[in-house]
Symmetry: C2
Subunit: 551 residues, 2 copies
């Protein structure tokens, strides 16, 4: 093995290194870790700086520090050239003009479109070339989604990337419990775990379906969990317009009605029913949120070959048309309402027709759609850590990382499903959530780019060490070592012998210990007593106001 | 789960789909699968087209088709701007001029440098600013490495990416046999498996160390295995100059002496002993190969913080200096000798000092070094599917894919360790080799980019289907479905119930079945009898000429 690439383990006893690990420990100054703290005062989570208390809080949480959303210092990858982009934009306008979009069961939406100059025939709305784009001129290029703890507020758009956990699975999975239907306890644990996870900037929405609660009431407990168990920003209910109204009401209790009217405090996932239609459930919820000045992510959910053509350029034109129509509707309801252009595209198994993830074709679509969103000057949502695997095995990890890399390199602004997604979105996995989050931490370091300062160039260190020696003890290494490299909480890089002595654990077993430790160390962020009581009263009143429904 | 991103399984019985799978099945016309065939005639593997025989060969091998190296249709990711690149180039020249490079125990190299105008003091060679760069003007920007089957010859450089298997591990691992020292049978099986793997374009070199053979003779059996069990291009021995001589001699037997003198038929891995020195073992081997007109990959092998500074810009300047000096030496030996600029950079665990893989800092170095190589107009080698994990688990897959994506997006021309690397390069894993190769197949589709033809744009399909319907049966889907999406041989995308019924196998268990099937279906590519006999005689003669040595 002389002089080959094989890696020898190098002893490093010349360096004193802090043993604490967190996926918040990122190289470089731009890591900007904010201390975890129990928010208090103000809008339920605001108040003056309490430095000593914050430091105690960090110590109490085992040194866990929260990461700010990525503020990228590296360029985006530009897949398509000007001609390709112009062609796809032209095709999207052709689709809107010639074929149009169907808005089901929503007379108000049809009226708004008619008034805006669209050609409305039955439920089919044909949109003159350029109409959507001109309506979207009022949409903000970036906006802030406020959290009840201002330290956790996130900017969506521009150079920023916000990571949110998995959304929507009816099942959960963990190492001991296996695969089972999700319940409200799982939901709360996933919210707590997300809160305790530094690289997840956002609490997300339906982190799993709490199927033990009635369908028409579960949103109340879900929103309450996000508002009380976490102080990160969250997502609202979209499964019925009255649930969207409840979400906004609950946000008003916690943030104050005036603040909510003037600021975005909740973001919501509005899916198109591709191809080329929107269901009223979605447009009614969109209107509630837009009217309240809250943000909507309009996402064509596309399994290529089923909801769109099998070819990427076709998927992009159709998805652009659908997203533009949905976002423009929000502008008709309230000009300036924050919107995000979403894309969720998967490929298809040619054996079974099942959706497949982490494959190259959706990555290409993601890169192209990110460019199209930038040209439209709206934030972009796509990607995540997606997989079709049934367990958090090698397939899950390959596919997740093969989705996450393009997500980040494309400059995606809001990343739903960034951690915990398993089995094509049918399962929220506790172990995968912390494994994925570890990868998300790495993305912060990647997006920081290369430090070109004199210290980064390290020419003096190279002079000091010279040929044939080593850098282990040199002053530059001593000065930079603790912040030089990303620290994984999941990876085992010990020797084989040490790894065997530690129980020969694979990544999933280690991840199991991590999420349990995070839940065990969880401390609820404080919420103003009056607001907490008002929230409880609202939920109780709404619960009592209607009979349970289970479908 | 109404209207969320959750993925429903869609029945696809309207489409007749070929059940055959191979990681050679790549979307789009640029997949350019070449039929597998038993090469025959000519230089041991050449001869006229035998269409029917080729088709029979494909059938015999279960439909397995070989992939051509990637000929990328997408742009590279340009991480560093002009100023950063110029700064790093300037620093590299400063290192060469001020600090210099030590060439240990190689009087001939020192004499060549002296003659070229360098300042030689003892073994330290200080190189005037610009000397290396001007010497490298004679190095080819791209070159062909010929395989004994011309269908398998590869172009190294330009838009091409060539994938080669893991190099160097003393251990092997498989699901049943666990971790054990490698032997010549393992070596041969890895060569056969690589031959049978469509996305590995190259047979590689030390796919594992056959530690059951004497150290001074094992190269003979290794080279013979590459030349007889595979007809893909291969790598030569560099562990002693006489072994490099043996490699060239054996190549001459198979390819013909004149052909070898005029063409590149073997490529070799020459590592710098960073920081800033070369051992004579390496420079003596480099001189043998360069003199014979064969290719050298000059690679600084850097664990940042040990062999170079901990900061990326420092690593890049030092690695560029080292690589330029090594490649320039090859030009002094024989102007025009093909060289490849290599980089192997890993980060370091701050707990143990162990190398870590799949982390963001080496990815940034990779992107930057690829740019620097392009500016130098030489091919670039880096990356692979690297991991520090002890088993082919989620850690292994995350880290491998987090290395492979930057490898491909950076435009790397030669990718050693593209499949099978485990445990920081200490282990060749049979299961991981086929799992990684599956990912390599996907990279072909990614690099094909987006088809912007009218068929790709699919506007007529969108018109035909219209709103609210589906694309499953439409003519565009029918026409494009079989080639639309990459087909994985490893991923399971079936329903949970089907997966359970199939035995609830994880990716490693499925990979185990794949490599066994490939080895079971292996057929040796034909080699001209006279040349095979001459090769045997040469090996026997060399074996008999020296006593066994075990260190």
């Amino acid at each position: 093995m002389t002089s080959t690439d094989s890696a020898d383990i190098i002893s490093l006893d010349t360096l004193a290194v802090d043993g604490a690990v967190a996926d918040g420990a990122v190289a470089g100054s731009a890591g900007t870790a904010a201390p975890a703290r129990g928010g208090r005062g103000g809008r339920g989570g605001r108040g003056g700086g309490r430095g000593a208390e914050a430091r105690r809080a960090v110590r109490r949480s085992g040194g866990l520090q929260q990461l700010k959303p990525i503020d990228r210092k590296i360029g985006t990858y530009e897949l398509l050239d000007e001609q390709a982009l112009t062609t796809i934009e032209h095709n999207a306008e052709t689709i809107l003009e010639e074929i149009g979009i169907v808005f089901h069961d929503d007379e108000e939406a049809l009226a708004l479109w008619r008034e805006a100059g669209a050609d409305v025939s039955g439920e089919r709305v044909r949109l003159p070339r350029g109409l959507c784009r001109s309506l979207l001129a009022s949409a903000p290029e970036t906006f802030v989604q406020h959290a009840r703890n201002p330290e956790r507020s996130v900017t969506i758009g521009g150079n920023h990337t916000v990571f949110a956990p998995v959304y929507g699975p009816p099942f959960v999975r963990d190492l001991e419990g296996g695969r089972r239907y999700g319940n409200i306890e799982d939901f709360r644990n996933l919210v707590k775990l997300t809160y305790a996870t530094p690289s997840l900037h956002h609490s997300g929405g339906t982190v799993c379906e709490p199927v033990d609660l009635p369908v028409n009431k579960r949103h109340l407990e879900m929103i309450k969990a996000h508002l009380t168990l976490s102080d990160k920003p969250f997502m609202g209910s979209v499964t019925a317009p009255e649930r969207a109204v409840d979400t906004v009401e609950m946000a008003r209790i916690v943030f104050g009605a005036d603040f909510v009217d003037q600021n975005c405090v909740v973001i919501n996932l509005i899916n198109a029913n591709s191809p080329l239609s929107f269901d009223s459930t979605m447009t009614e919820s969109l209107k509630v949120y837009a009217r309240a000045g809250q943000a909507c992510i309009v996402t064509p959910f596309i399994l290529a070959g089923a909801m769109a053509p099998v070819t990427g350029a076709g998927v992009m034109a159709q998805a652009l048309a659908e997203a533009m129509a949905g976002m423009a509707l929000a502008q008709l309801v309230r000009p300036g309402a924050p919107v995000v252009m979403g894309t969720f595209a998967s490929s298809m198994s040619m054996q079974s027709g099942a959706p497949t993830f982490g494959t190259p074709e959706p990555a290409l679509v993601l890169y192209g759609m990110a460019q199209l969103a930038r040209r439209l000057k709206v934030p972009f949502r796509s990607g995540g850590s997606l997989t079709g695997s049934k367990t958090p095995d090698a397939q899950a990890a390959y596919e997740s990382q093969a989705t996450l890399q393009p997500t980040v390199m494309a400059g995606t602004n809001f990343v739903l499903h960034a951690a915990g997604w398993l089995e094509g979105g049918l399962v929220s996995s506790f172990e995968k959530l912390v494994m994925d989050a570890d990868q998300l931490g790495m993305m912060h370091a990647l997006a920081n780019g290369v430090d070109m300062s004199e210290n980064g160039q390290a020419l003096d260190a190279i002079r000091e060490v010279g040929p044939g020696s080593h850098f282990l003890g040199c002053s530059h290494t001593q000065a930079n070592f603790e912040t030089a490299f990303f620290r994984s909480v999941i990876a085992d890089n010990n020797s084989y012998e040490q790894w065997e002595a530690d129980g020969a654990k694979d990544a999933v077993v280690r991840a199991n210990a991590v999420w349990k430790a995070r839940l065990a160390g969880y401390e609820q962020p404080a919420l103003d007593d009056d607001r907490a009581a008002a929230l409880d009263a609202f939920v109780a009143e709404r619960m009592a106001s209607m009979p349970d429904r289970w479908s």
